[in-house]
Symmetry: C3
Subunit: 316 residues, 3 copies
Amino acid sequence: MKIKEIAFIIGAEYHGVDFEVTRMNTLADATKDEISFVSNSKYIKDIQNSKAGAVIVDEATKVYVPDGCVALVVDFPYYQMATLSKHFAPPIEESDLQPAIVGKGTTVSPKAEIANGAVVGKNCTIMAHVYIGCKAVVGDNTIIYPSVTVYRDCKIGSDCIIHANTTIGSDGFGFATSRMGEHKKIYQNGIVIIEDNVEIGSSTTIDRAVFGATLIKKGVRIDNLVQVGHNSIIGEHSVLVSQTGISGSTKMGRNVVMGGQSATAGHLEIAPFTTMAARSGVTKSIKESGLTFAGFPLMEHRMWLKLQARLSKLIK
Amino acid sequence: MKIKEIAFIIGAEYHGVDFEVTRMNTLADATKDEISFVSNSKYIKDIQNSKAGAVIVDEATKVYVPDGCVALVVDFPYYQMATLSKHFAPPIEESDLQPAIVGKGTTVSPKAEIANGAVVGKNCTIMAHVYIGCKAVVGDNTIIYPSVTVYRDCKIGSDCIIHANTTIGSDGFGFATSRMGEHKKIYQNGIVIIEDNVEIGSSTTIDRAVFGATLIKKGVRIDNLVQVGHNSIIGEHSVLVSQTGISGSTKMGRNVVMGGQSATAGHLEIAPFTTMAARSGVTKSIKESGLTFAGFPLMEHRMWLKLQARLSKLIK
Amino acid sequence: MKIKEIAFIIGAEYHGVDFEVTRMNTLADATKDEISFVSNSKYIKDIQNSKAGAVIVDEATKVYVPDGCVALVVDFPYYQMATLSKHFAPPIEESDLQPAIVGKGTTVSPKAEIANGAVVGKNCTIMAHVYIGCKAVVGDNTIIYPSVTVYRDCKIGSDCIIHANTTIGSDGFGFATSRMGEHKKIYQNGIVIIEDNVEIGSSTTIDRAVFGATLIKKGVRIDNLVQVGHNSIIGEHSVLVSQTGISGSTKMGRNVVMGGQSATAGHLEIAPFTTMAARSGVTKSIKESGLTFAGFPLMEHRMWLKLQARLSKLIK
């Protein structure tokens, strides 16, 4: 989309040279032909280092935009970012793409649907009522059980198993709220990447990223009814037990274990080899590796045991 | 069904004039051609004001039934209401209805099924493996992702998005338990109504009402893996974050936010603009608008913070 | 599989007489033509009483293996058990079986798939996008709503109702972890058995057993979004409210009630007529019948109320 068209859509003034903008992205990841936004004053320091070709800002933030980056000034950058996101959303399906390519030795149920432009590798099993969206990619030897839905553009590795009724790549939970309390959808134009040798249980939901990718690294084990929010990164060989919820943009190191019904807030980092007991509620980043936590608010497991001992005295 | 047939089914005596009863309903909502029941002495005061044509009561409650309302006396009214509910349940599918009507510009996957008597509006996208039950209604511009199931008679508005593997209108969790501990199903003969501009995530479940409707008002945002119980009302622009559970008959005002893994008990009222932190457990109605709560049992968020500070001292 | 082939697969030495091994099983349940394993010194006492024809042990445990039982010695019995489990896993589908048998009066949607070797009884309703795996069995008068998946070999009784998007028999969450932190899948070669007159909500997941069966006894009521782990036993007429999680190998007596969002650890026993309040977290077995519990850690409900009263004083 042209920058002048974007300015028009979001109600900003722009009188410079017109150029093509290919995507929306974060300040950190945007490149010369991408547009970003600043919705919160705590990100002001990131503007200087951004390589974005354009940025949506408010009047007060405009001064921090470096030379060579177009500043599109609006009253509510986050809300206008939501407005714009719809215009970058690809169609749900594309009938003019080539039919899906399916590798040798792969079995596809006649009751499955693989959309145009998708690629499925060799020796896979794609069972009844599976949907694989357009341009999605599946590696070799992967088993996808009935009624799994893989949204467009998502990538699943080789030697994976995905159990029934699981959803890969549905929209992350994103919206901008007006002063009248109405929510405008932020289109989730990113994807999900699932690396090799991952097993995912049934009725689990893994949201696509708003920009970039939600990433499930190799060797991960995810149980049933788990929620993985948009832009999360689940480290290699990590284990998410049933009914766990990982909020958006949380990044785990390798071999993290999340006990049943545990959860994290968003935008956290969890060190490798951390173990969370069942029902843990993680609200701060964990920097030190190899520890075991419990409780909500979270504390080291041994402290949690001590707390429970104290509480049991309270009622004696 | 005729009142004499009903009396026979539930084992009550009735020797009056026969008349047609069209539905079962609550004391408050039942009309002249409907039947209600009193299962609990706390509802006795509601009998006087009921406009029901008939009511199932026990011997002790019979005296409160007003003139002009037929009292059908049984030993266990709640159990007999369950018995009767089955007889008012419509068939799951009806082959003799007209084929579904689909509006102009709507795309229906050949692998979707839209049952007879359903109506889908204009410019909708109905993807593979979707099921839309008989007499269900979908508005215009609505997107229904793969493997969504919409049970019969439910209504979905315009400009809605429903993500994969979500279920709209499955039976609420209702049964009457005998003295032997066996459960008799209360057929859920109500519906779900989803108003315009609602987005619902993947693998979410919204139960149909036992009578009347479970109601999701306009502009609501519901995340993945959320449970909404029968007869709940979710107020306009409210937000239910992932893995939240709303029990039956709870009514929220507008712009309520339920944090991740939060929950409510049943039969509560929650004031508009209430915010519940993640994991909140709501067991009492909230009357004052605009407050923020946390914890289980629930308390104001600032009290919860204070409590956590006190608890952390206990283990120092 | 022959015992010599098994020895080769897991890297054990065996020079005795060759014989056929039909299945893997627990020490307690294994018979003469089955193989078991000892992964943990606390099970050493069970070896003496085992009727297994062979057992995978480490060097230290070998001496406890009784005469007449073959000891296959490896460094890490649990890990080798995982290795072996794959070789006992049946194929996902079997094209050479007889087509499914469907009883009189049963309606099967043309958009459902019933795999070869399955048997569905009389007067059932099998709706669109249902998958019933090979050799699975469904009794009479059972209703299976859209997009339910029943994995191979599982058994569902008569007069059951299974709501949309529910999964019966997906793999339990089992793996052996190497010293490098990589997880090897333990193939779940058991089944799920659902007895008569059971109702299960939507998007619920019931895992198949690793050996033997996960068992849902007659008259049970399970709500939406519930997780039942492998090898659990849910007692007759028990009630699992929405978003409850039952960990593996937990056994409940009859008429247990698990409140919403409650959970149990694995390998517990819960006495009949126990009631768990919403959000209860059960970490120890309950021996006495008829009590009501709450909290995490679990305590009697009246103690939990007392604790909350004490805590509310802390912040005054």
